[in-house]
Symmetry: C2
Subunit: 241 residues, 2 copies
């Protein structure tokens, strides 16, 4: 059998050109939705329910749900939670509950790919676990970068390069029908020694520097803080078994 | 007055997110349409008429026209010319005529942006002349990479980085609302010492290696073989004055 192939889609706007039912879809929104999803499930939340709009989020009523809404990097007015992963670490308020989450980019990317057969969540928090999980499946993969409002961003592209690098070491091959793979891999290798310093030049950093996200960014770039892989099942993200 | 800004759009599929009438659009299809357009005009062709389809190309009848059609890297059956720039160098058959050109990616990118106020053609062949031309205009710029069938490719991205680098040195600033600029600039700097060697890993190279384009590729990566800037006027590309 030939080796499975890793495809990289650098923006949800390009998704229709990459879609194939045979491929596992890995959603990536490093700063910060997919890092937060991994963290929330790692820290005892029962599921994460990604929704596209704030109206949809507000339909989940009751003590079982924590509603988190972020737009433009900030918690939406009237909500207590946004997409900061730190909010879900060792938090008795959120433990055991379902997280209803709507964000600027991450949950929109999930929405774009929600009909795919297998959709999982990737971040530096779970990169090793995710690699192993994909290797066991032995299937083609599409890494879907959420970007920023359908534009390409640096941190998601670098993570795509890191995951591609990790899968290449496990015998996967790279899609050569496009140059997205070599682009992501090049940026990863260029930044690998100090991704945080490299990101200082990124649009996200410049856009959000006033929000003091330094601690969040450090956390989101730390590898392997969790061994779990979130997977979409019946419209909810749960820990894959 | 603030410095003009350089925006980079890495695929025609992302064009609607970058479009603005205030911006000069630079079309880039290094291998090989935009290199061929610069070369044809440099070598005495009167104009280049970019058309989207082969049917449209065939509507130009008579001795004044040379019709060139490329799909998938090869000259379309029944045509004498494709997108190889070498075909137009010191060629008495093409001198003084109009080139009607349809290609897989380059002329499609022109089609995408054809309603923009100012559309010019960029390639390594005219990078210095183009830089000076843009500097004189002192306007915001969008570099539109043709890519490969709406997917991102390496050679157009690297050229976008090279032109951005060149404009930054002239006091232009980089769009920081997206990371396409820093991505292109990183790839350019990574490959600058030997772009041809770097491209050996590209999809285009792997896709087209059977076509023996080595001489074409060397030519298309050579800087400043022409001082002209092709500009779209009344649906024809002519030398800008």
């Amino acid at each position: 059998m030939s080796q499975p192939t890793v495809h990289i889609c650098l923006s949800p706007a390009l998704y229709p050109m990459y879609h194939s039912n045979e491929r596992i879809v890995v959603i990536v929104d490093i700063l910060r939705a997919t890092s937060a999803i991994c963290t929330a499930l790692q820290h005892g939340m029962k599921s994460v329910i990604p929704v596209a709009t704030i109206d949809q989020a507000n339909q989940f009523v009751g003590d079982d749900y924590i509603i988190a809404a972020e737009r433009g990097g900030e918690i939406v007015n009237g909500f207590a939670y946004g997409n900061s992963p730190l909010a879900y670490i060792n938090n008795p308020q959120t433990f055991g509950k379902h997280l209803v989450l709507t964000t600027t980019n991450g949950t929109q990317a999930i929405e774009t790919a929600r009909l795919s057969q297998t959709l999982v969540i990737g971040s530096f928090c779970n990169i090793s676990a995710l690699t192993q999980w994909i290797v066991k499946r032995n299937q083609d993969v599409m890494i879907l970068c959420a970007g920023w409002k359908n534009r390409i961003n640096l941190e998601d592209t670098i993570f795509a390069g890191a995951l591609l690098d990790s899968l290449l070491r496990q015998g996967f091959s790279m899609d050569i029908d496009t140059d997205a793979g070599i682009t992501a891999l090049s940026l990863f290798r260029l930044s690998e020694a100090d991704i945080k310093a490299f990101l200082k030049q990124s649009s996200h950093n410049q856009r959000l520097s006033r929000l003091n996200l330094d601690e969040d960014i450090t956390y989101c770039l730390t590898r392997n803080t969790t061994p779990i892989v979130p997977i979409l099942q019946q419209e909810r993200l749960v820990i894959s078994t």
